[in-house]
Symmetry: C2
Subunit: 747 residues, 2 copies
């Protein structure tokens, strides 16, 4: 499901910290183990698995999805793993019929399956494939005028309102991008629209950056992006079983009462189809960042000039998920689990998403199996998982995590996730106490295109990109300039780490390579194929092998090291930065509010606008108050000091007595669960992590200190104040535990 | 010639100053005069003149251009002015033949006259019209591979070099925008290209903002922008007579020795034609700001895949210019001239450019004539001028100014220019001592669309735009927030003020209304027509009348006020800002140099780039040294104090004895000429003004403190240091004169 251009969008990636080096840098025999591991990684294997797994449609409920589960199970077993398939029963809609027609100014039938492309063999073999649709939209049949709403995000609706355009009773036409797909129909229905069309604009994943497929990897004019629109910002997983596993006998909601299923019919379309609708629209013209890359003026429309008929009817039956779970028992710490997973289901052939990452995972499992056969055994238990049903809403991972929640909170020390991964630069998002751990591994893997380490290439990319784009003050640029660790990004959502991090408080990471590929152009279409991946995204799967080597080191080191992989000062320093951000957010928003009120009172918005296309003042909003954050600043400040002390103790753990070391390890294990608040976030109790959440208005994009930050942004100022106290409380609990560990170690 | 989107581009427009109010706010009887003036302004007149003047092609040398001169002369005479036509003989090339063909991958004939458009009557009447071409390119006949160079500006060539692409021996395809048209072939020939094509990309003046003509005012797919590519940044005017008038017996250069004529064949084309060339290009893809709005991936090309044949043959004969000069003698100060002008020649029908501004000027002249007939006479002499030959290179104004240079430097107190003017917000660029004068007039004219003053509307526009674009610290925003005068922009080039300001040192201004029009879409094409102007740019010429009222006030107040219109603190404060800018420029450029050197040495540019499309390090450049600017800072600081003292004396001028007042006026008259240095700017001695010049790499865009600023930017550091001293010297001379005036007034 993940499709990150985080790396390219310059989001934070990889905090200079305080110099203590954990015992994670591999010891000499660990180096030898890692070398043997590397020797088992085969791009030929990965190419063969990719070809086989992507040979037929493999969405939830398809025969080939089940077949791939069985193949995966057989592979794990053949490599000596203790593996099984765990099933869940979930509500998963598939289309019975999808209808899109332009009614006025003339009748034109739109939509339908994407056409075959020469050279791409699977593209002509779409029997059994899902047509373009979005899962968990609201079935319905509507005919209404079409309104172009740009990305369909909140600022777009504000812009529409300032032009006097209203979407009530209309079908909105939104382009993909700027926020998660599912927010587009959700915001549309909240604004009174009766239907929603989402199209792929060539400015976003087409000819603006690549030649159209198959000349290049860019999305062709008839390509369509499928996807889920389930309201996963409320909770992910099976809509009927929030917070519990979707086992056979689980107590279920009904489809009608499930809050994560949307209400209005919604379909995705190609830009060839969108062009036909856009061409006839009337009214004000969207310019600048409000327009896409099609060769016409983007009118907002909303008049009767262009009306469309949109109808969706779905099969809402229950489907079976097939998660493959494989375990390699730890010899000294079997009840400490290092979990590594990737999903296996795709929207159609899923070669890039998810099979690029899944193949890298299989390579690691094979190599670990070979190590085990040659005598090596992990200290901790290693768990590999091949999730089903990620695409419709992280179903397989969420149901498994909910089913095994208590055990996971007791045993899981780390969750490593991958998903789409292609050619290019390392993109890493993680719990920030894992930052140094990731940097150390990236230091020890060679980038195949340049011969330097993955870390050095990442550092060069951050610095060169900063130079070329005019110089920024982003955390990763400062860190790269100082020569320290490259900061990792915060985890939002869009792949299977969500339950582990945000519901259970398990330290998590998500890794990918990207930046030299064109996988955006095939994303969630029939063109996400073996041909596309091997021609445009990662020819020879060279970076598939690099991903295996990087993740393999992380698994081996996490499984075998004496102490946990965390460096607490990185977490504390990053949280201190977030505290600074939310303070600045409140200050800046207040200043902007005061300015807006002044200009509105003076009539300056109206006077200052083009009178041929007048824009009225932004709507009145409650003024952002001064918010007292002292308790939070104190807690963050204290945490910085406690973290530095704890890191100093951990760095010298090998000088402790064995008993003291055991005590230290026990004190620190599960510490990240102290960042949970059992009441969760406002209106979404499933999300318990007070540091990281997917933004309710960003979807995949992370919001850090979400209770506070979204309270301010969404003007729920009482919530913001309440969560200042809650966040301060979890930070103090975390610091208490660090202090206890330091004290215990000194005994 | 001017086509400013300065207003829209957010360039500085209209400095809070020190609160002295000159005697420029109209006295009671002046108010009555201005009211009578306003009553004579007629949009019906302006519509009739626009219809007549734009009825046939009116470029230099055309029968209708001469006819319009004679009509203008007759009108002035009919209104009681002392008017005559003054002629000059200039080298002005017109095409004999223009050829553009795509040779590979297939033969396609491109180019030729623009097609008629339904509804636009004159568009089907192009007999005698110039075909698409650019004046003063270099005739030639070449066949070569085509390379897309984005805007063809220096940073584009740097980007090409970093991709390993070279334009030597090739034909460059540049899009209009980002810098003046003439720089595109000039930089192309400097980089070794053999030909240059310039096309209008729809991202810049087409469907990105407007429906295509005639549905809207945006440039249609077959629209082409003509223009001059004469190297006017060296000197404007007739290429054969730099610095002297192109009179019958002037000593002339030859065409071969004239440095402002370019060397390589160059033609402008439509985006329909450009698309045919772009579609076949190979090689790396230009993305982000390097691409335009056409529906394809913009490859850089340069391989043999696309070759073109480009040939231009011109008639290089001498042509006659017809400047119409009309005078109304001042009753008490006949040897003090207030000059107001607009050009009259167009590229084809020229309805917007220049007849929109020319019609407003005629309205003023008629109204001033009516005032004179009713008994009012100006104190100073008023000179109105209708320039010919502005389009090919400011020919009419430059030759007149050069011919009458000594008299103008003795007599001219002010030069007011207009050119294209349409519907919307006031855009004002001027010598900064005129800032308060312009603000006062804008305060006293009502904006017809909103009913508030032109100044209040401008202020609202600055504030609302700043709010919507995220908040800036631009000088005009600060001033607008503080409620003070809105800063005026600096004058570069692109219209007829250039000789007056930059060669002769006469205080000048250029005024326009813009921001609600679509005149960019017809600019320099056959579609710049009565139909286009009255449908899209200024229906009813409502703003034509506003321009007349605004300029009329400026003319009346400048002609009749006791003391000159200057407020010196505005000049001094603005120059202090420029001094801060050039210091920051040097510091920032040095920091960037050091960063580039460090990253280059580490190999980070190569490592950090996409290896599938590698970019090498930027070329090595001399490191920007630390430049001592203390003498300049001291001079600027002194000028601030001297200006404040002088303004205080001027503000109380009515309390001085008549003799002291005469002395004060005499001391201050011509003071702006002290900002000239007779040696001029490096490599362009014609440009003598040390404060304002068109940038050698921006063309129309102003460079302030150009000797220093361009010395730094272009790494001529010895020049930068030398011009620090020269600028300090002219500022000290200016301050000396102010100090003398203060001293004399105190006697």
């Amino acid at each position: 499901m993940t499709f990150t251009s985080k790396l390219l969008a310059g989001a934070a990636l990889l905090s200079l910290s305080f110099g203590n080096t954990l015992a994670l840098a591999a010891a000499p025999d660990a180096h030898a183990t890692e070398a043997r591991f590397d020797a088992s990684i085969s791009t030929a294997d990965q190419l063969a698995w990719l070809k086989d797994f992507s040979s037929a449609p493999n969405h939830v409920g398809s025969p080939h999805d089940k077949h791939n589960a069985e193949t995966t199970l057989a592979l794990f077993k053949s490599w000596g793993w203790d593996a099984h398939i765990e099933t869940f029963s979930v509500l998963y809609p598939t289309p019975i019929s999808t209808t899109i027609e332009m009614i006025t100014p003339q009748h034109v039938t739109l939509g339908g399956q994407e056409p075959a492309v020469p050279g791409d063999d699977t593209s002509s073999n779409t029997a059994g494939a899902l047509p373009p649709y979005v899962a968990y939209q609201g079935d319905g049949d509507v005919t209404a005028p079409v309104v172009y709403v740009n990305y369909g995000m909140p600022d777009d609706y504000e812009a529409l309102a300032r032009r006097g355009i209203d979407v009530r009773g209309k079908i909105v036409l939104a382009r993909y991008g700027a926020g998660w797909r599912g927010l587009k129909p959700k915001l549309a229905q909240e604004h009174g629209a009766v239907g929603c069309l989402i199209y792929s604009d060539p400015a976003n994943d087409g000819y603006a950056e690549h030649d159209s497929y198959p000349r290049g990897g860019g999305r062709p004019e008839n390509g369509v992006q499928r996807g889920s629109v389930q309201d996963m910002t409320t909770y992910p997983g099976d809509p009927l079983t929030p917070g519990i596993g979707a086992t056979a006998d689980a107590k279920r909601l009904t489809r009608e009462t499930a809050p994560t299923i949307l209400k209005i019919p919604t379909l995705p379309i190609s830009y060839a189809d969108a062009t036909k609708l856009l061409a006839g629209l009337e009214g004000p013209i969207a310019t600048g960042k409000a327009r896409g890359g099609l060769p016409l003026a983007y009118h907002y429309g909303g008049t009767g000039a262009v009306t469309a008929h949109l109808a969706v009817k779905s099969d809402w039956s229950m489907k079976t998920l097939y998660d493959v779970i494989a375990m390699m028992k730890g010899k000294t710490r079997p009840d400490e689990w290092v979990i590594r997973a990737n999903h296996r289901d795709g929207w159609v052939f899923g070669a890039s998403d998810p099979l690029s990452g899944h193949g890298a995972m299989l390579s690691e499992a094979k190599a670990l199996g070979a190590l085990a056969k040659s005598g090596w055994k992990p200290e901790r238990t290693i768990v590999y998982a091949s999730w089903d049903g990620e695409e419709p809403g992280l179903l397989g991972s969420t149901e498994w995590a909910e089913t095994h929640a208590a055990e996971l909170q007791r045993k899981a020390v780390l969750y490593i996730n991958t998903d789409v991964s292609e050619r290019g630069f390392l993109g890493a998002e993680a719990s920030h106490d894992l930052q140094h751990f990731i940097n150390q591994a990236a230091r020890d893997v060679t980038d195949p295109e340049t011969g330097v380490s993955v870390l050095d290439r990442q550092r060069a990319h951050v610095l060169a990109d900063d130079f070329d784009t005019g110089g920024g003050e982003a955390a990763e640029v400062k860190a790269a300039k100082a020569g320290g660790d490259i900061p990792v990004g915060a985890l939002g959502s869009g792949s299977d780490y969500s339950s582990f991090l945000q519901h259970l408080g398990i330290p998590s990471m998500n890794l990918e390579f990207a930046g030299e590929d064109a996988s955006g152009g095939s994303y969630h279409s029939i063109y996400d194929s073996f041909y596309h991946v091997t021609h445009f995204d990662d020819p020879g799967l060279v970076y598939g092998a690099v991903l295996s080597k990087l993740v393999g080191r992380l698994v081996l080191r996490a499984a075998d090291s004496d102490v946990g992989p965390a460096r607490y000062a990185d977490m504390a320093g990053t949280i201190a930065r977030y505290v600074g951000e939310v303070k600045k957010l409140a200050d800046d928003q207040r200043a902007k509010d005061l300015s807006r009120e002044e200009l509105s009172a003076a009539g300056d918005f109206k006077l200052g606008s083009d009178q041929t296309d007048p824009t009225i003042a932004p709507s009145a909003k409650p003024t952002t108050p001064l918010i007292d954050m002292l308790v939070l600043e104190k807690a963050s400040d204290r945490l910085m000091r406690s973290a530095a002390s704890a890191d100093a103790v951990v760095a010298k753990a090998d000088m402790l007595s064995p008993a003291a070391r055991v005590k230290l390890d026990a004190d620190l294990r599960g510490i990240d669960q102290l960042l949970l608040d059992p009441q969760g976030l406002p209106s979404r109790p499933w999300y318990q992590n007070m540091i990281y959440a997917p933004g309710t208005l960003t979807g995949y994009g992370a919001k850090t200190l979400p209770g506070i930050r979204e309270g301010i942004e969404q003007r729920r100022f009482a919530d913001a104040t309440a969560y200042v106290a809650k966040v301060a409380a979890v930070l103090n609990a975390y610091a208490d535990r660090l202090d206890m560990a330091v004290k215990d170690a000194g005994k």
